[in-house]
Symmetry: C2
Subunit: 678 residues, 2 copies
């Protein structure tokens, strides 16, 4: 390499550093230290290794770059800018103006990288551990697409930069354990071992041997002694690429805030602007001018010559391989193209089962299993699994060809996620980001374990399906630790998440119709352990009403005296109560309300037709807490449900004990009707 | 040992097995396989090692036994029965009748062990990973009490039996990492390596080298090849006791459902009754009679002779050491006795600061730091820390004598929990279970990371204090990943948790007054990053109204036309709006509502006096979602707040953008008043 080329490399690296420092300073908030430390590895990765075409950042065969330490967002924005990554309309993903507006309203350069704000932001990061766990899902996607469809050009590499926090967080450890088990050799984590956390030196709280820990989990662990040693970094990345049986972690010894003489290697370089004086000194140490937001000549050209040229050639090569593959394998290519385009087969809904009336019925987890299998039969890229509860969750794709995903069989559609709910959800996010339709199953109470990842499904608009069984005290003997009481409410609180609780098998089918049809929203489906009847719809409302979120299941002749409403297993209680009330001459309408969010999206007219404001006598029944129901109950309505934790006993006894019975609904209804007549 | 003694040992072990099988069968639900596998180690631990007096199971110096694999609850119940553990009234903690009522309503033998249901259940387990993480908190408690007060008899040992799930769950890994870092040599985990999970063989999802992983984290790892080899178990436990510098994990190779010829070593022995036929065969293999619920002669006597005699002597010795210590160290003894009795100093509330009015004010996280320090000055056993955000959370006890808890200084009161929110909360539960007043601090958005443990604080009635700063979009530039929007609602959903959001420094002081005064409830305090004024109370309601959960902060002459209510940083907006409205001739009452749960506990009269039902014009303001507010707003009220995720920008711009402004409150109030006059 010529001296001038070497010089330009350092120029490029220092450009990343100075842009990051300047942007944080201008915003007067942010994290300068990590971009300054990691500029060399980011440079080396992007310029010399990444299979990435800045002109086509959506190219499905691209290598993925995840900045798991999302607080170092200026590192990513600087690189996206210098690499000339383009939005689909040809505009720069990150312009200099955007960088100058770092952390300001409307800038794609948010405090933490937000997926969707600019091309090149592969996933939203910031909550620690999530990015690396997502990266496992991305690596799985590459393995699965190439394994399932025998198109090896989908076996892209996934790189994640991560911090102490990422490797300390449980979700990151769970994901690492699974990645090692699955021998994901397309996955490379680069661990920024800077010895500094917010509270001080990492050894205040963290003294384990990280390399040994990863090795115990089946990873290859490499060390780079000096984060500024480009050759060593290059060698380590090359070693990763040569390893065809393990994921790799590169432990990179870095100095946070490198170059800032008074702040480097201290926590004070982490989360605040350096200050003008210190920036000036740092720039001196880089032999840099004092100007702000400078990109010296040659820097963008260097990226263009290396990353750009290499990426463009790879992109072209991929396109021609793809054309050839598609010609020879039209069915597989059609599936893959659907994944790339996030399309579903036109007629996929035709497979949604209709269930005959059956008073004995079946648990909604059972009908969910049937519907899941019907849908999975049509959508070959619907894949997922359970956190070790597949049998209980009825989440297995049973088709003989489906198989299990393993290190020996990347074509499998069923995943054994292990007892790792949090990583499961985060991995499903990573899979969804590749266009795959992923689902995650566990007991409803364990939504608590994976909530940070569920929130990110919503924030990133990823249509992950959460299959949540054993959805109330109806699970019985396992007791309060396993009985969701507040989980419907707390999931309904998550923005942009559809929470569904179908009442019978046909509502389950319709819920799948809605959930799978989503392209921008995750869905959480709450399902019973215990049997519920499949309603005789000849006498009741059409289950397609489910799609409006709430609908009249049983109506009265003339205006109702009272409205009974519920979800899931408690709708049957409403129906029983309505019959008793009818015998007493009280006209009770029954409304099934499987999805609050969808109901709220309906027209005011529709909502009024289901819940006429003139009928103030209302009773809602749900084996959970009341939170969230008042909007349908109004001030005068009554709620029949839980007020605290459950207990360990057979299901029927618990319903009786906690008073979630038709008798109590009738009593509440009578009082409501009497009050409304006064 | 005589042959008959050896025989009785096996008799005891098989009694544990058969009681467990019989109870699960009778309940027709439960987990027989693990008790059958682990009966020998449980026997050996209790009979030969545990420092535990069945007559005094509340003795503070006792060794702790945690059944982290809570689904194996019958193992614990069988042992508590056979060991003759007594409730404080002298009745058996677990009677044979209780065992026969396993998993039935009212039996202390719940599906999973529930702390408080019977003496000897040290913590509630079932959600995997929680028990072992609690055990780290318990081990810390022992180290801390002995280190802080120089009474080494408090340095008890803590044993936890754990399963694949426990060691796969992230929270367990986080806790293990911290335990290794802290060199907790009083902590012993026994890992039931049975190679079976619910979905099949563990190697479907889990192939790491567990011993090596723990060694990488600073643990001593021992292996017992055969779970039925009592001598090997004994040797391993003895080795743990001799290790004075590391926690120990004993990897125990066991056979799930040991003795059941057709089900042992398969997943079918895990979570369902064995069936009468298989039970009969298993009993044959143990050389057992076919009777149900049998305790052969000699078994309880064996526990009495070993555990009982040893425990009673240890208890007596401890009492005499304690008397001697107390005589020489009355102040320390008084502190320790307060911990044991869960008492606070009588006059502790006298230290709650009063803050002078200050229009500039301070962030509530800052006033929280001041109040925390005042309280910690009075309550020496209030200890805790942050998940690497102490500076931001203002959660440091600053007293020069407080120090940091570390392997070299077990007397320290400040904890560096590392970037491990989930383990932090679970460890705080373990500390609270020892009577220590523990607190856990992080950003409010990360409550999602520790929610399963927060739920268990509520379920176990442990008064852990959660200090949650950066409580809204008011944190500004960090953006939507860091901005809690739904977290107030989702925390309010957790039963038995007080959720508090004080509006100014004096409300913070009062909130601490309530939270610390709790003995049976955890509290979650939501605190601002940004400054809020300290209100001039000469013109406003007394901050002691905070203790009613909601109170009139600003009243009107005569009946109010409209009620404005809010929490935290939005109360100031209500006050501003009230002034504007007053200028327009609209009488607006302002209600501060720092704690919904407390307000709901007040008398109907009090609630009516604050929110008179005659005033239907109401506006609530909170920089979060509306969920939970309707109960105070009524059907006609209006909510001003968030409807989805936040954004990255300076705080003031975000409030403006999302319309959480005095102007919007005024507009809503005017409309409300106009509507209510129609």
């Amino acid at each position: 390499m010529t001296t001038s080329a070497v010089d330009t490399r350092h120029l490029a690296i220092n450009t990343i550093r100075t842009l990051s420092m300047d942007a944080v300073q201008k915003a007067n908030s942010g994290h300068p230290g990590t971009p300054m430390a990691l500029a060399p590895v980011a440079y080396c990765l992007w310029n010399d290794h990444l299979n990435y075409d800045p002109e086509h950042p959506g190219w499905p065969g691209r290598d993925r770059f995840v900045l798991s330490c999302g607080h170092a967002s200026m590192l990513l924005y600087s690189v996206l800018h210098l690499a000339g990554v383009k939005n689909s309309d040809g505009s720069p993903a990150v312009s200099m103006e955007d960088i100058k507006n770092f952390r300001q309203f409307g800038s794609p350069c948010a405090g933490h990288p937000e997926h969707g704000e600019a091309a090149g932001i592969e996933t939203t990061t910031g909550p620690l551990g999530q990015g690396i766990a997502n990266s496992v899902g991305m690596a799985i996607s590459g393995k699965w697409m190439s394994g399932r469809y025998d198109f090896e050009d989908c076996d892209f590499d996934v790189y994640a930069l991560c911090s102490d926090g990422d490797v300390m967080e449980g979700v990151g450890m769970e994901a690492a354990s699974l990645a090692g088990h699955l021998k994901l050799d397309n996955l490379c984590w680069i661990y920024d071992d800077n010895q500094i956390t917010i509270e001080g030196r990492t050894d205040l709280a963290f003294s384990e041997d990280v390399a040994a820990r990863f090795e115990s989990m089946g990873w290859s662990a490499l060390t780079v002694e000096d984060a500024n040693d480009l050759d060593a970094i290059d060698r380590a990345i090359s070693q990763f690429k040569e390893n065809k049986s393990q994921p790799t972690i590169i432990v990179l010894n870095s100095i946070i805030g490198y170059g800032a003489p008074n702040k480097q290697d201290t926590a004070s370089a982490h989360g605040s602007p350096l200050g003008e004086d210190e920036i000036q000194l740092a720039k001196q140490s880089y032999d840099w001018s004092n100007e702000k937001f400078t990109v010296p000549p040659g820097v963008m050209e260097l990226f263009e010559e290396n990353l750009g040229r290499r990426g463009s050639a790879a992109y072209e090569k991929w396109q021609s391989n793809w054309a050839e593959f598609a010609a020879g394998n039209p069915a597989s290519a059609n599936d893959l193209q659907s994944i790339f385009d996030r399309r579903l087969p036109d007629d996929w809904e035709s497979v949604l089962p209709e269930f005959p009336a059956d008073p004995k019925g079946m648990a909604t987890r059972v009908s969910s299993g049937k519907v899941l299998n019907a849908v999975a039969g049509k959508i070959g890229w619907m894949i997922g699994g359970s956190a070790d509860l597949a049998g209980s969750n009825k989440s297995l794709i049973e088709d003989a060809d489906a198989g299990h995903f393993s290190a020996d069989h990347f074509a499998g559609r069923n995943f054994h996620f292990g007892i790792r709910e949090h990583a499961m959800a985060s991995i499903c996010n990573g899979m969804a980001l590749s266009g795959i339709r992923s689902y995650a199953a566990t007991f409803a109470v364990f939504t608590d374990y994976m909530r940070p990842a569920m929130r990110l499904s919503g924030l990133m608009h990823q249509p992950v399906l959460y299959i949540l069984t054993h959805d109330s005290i109806g699970l019985g003997e396992d007791g309060p630790t396993h009985q969701p009481v507040e989980h419907l409410a707390s999931c309904r609180a998550i923005p942009n998440l559809l929470v569904m609780r179908p009442a019978d098998a046909n509502e389950v089918s319709q819920c799948y119709g809605v959930a799978i049809g989503q392209n921008k929203r995750p869905a959480a489906m709450f399902l019973t352990r215990q049997n519920v009847p499949t309603f005789d719809r000849s006498k009741l409302g059409d289950p397609r009403g489910t799609r409006q979120g709430g609908y009249i299941l049983l109506d009265t002749d003339g205006n109702p005296d009272v409205i009974l409403m519920g979800t899931g297993s408690e709708v049957e209680i409403c129906l029983q109560a309505a019959m008793t009330l009818s015998d007493e001459g009280i006209r009770a309408r029954v409304v099934s309300m499987p999805c609050f969010e969808l109901f709220e999206e309906q027209s005011a007219d529709y909502r009024e037709s289901v819940l006429p404001s003139s009928v103030v006598a209302r009773v809602a029944v749900e084996a959970g807490i009341e939170m969230g129901w008042l909007r349908f109950l109004g001030s005068h309505g009554r709620f029949v449900g839980m007020t605290g934790f459950g207990a360990s006993a057979p299901s029927e006894e618990l319903y009786e004990h906690f008073g979630i019975t038709a008798e109590n609904v009738c009593r509440a209804a009578r009082e409501q009707v009497a009050a409304s007549r006064n």
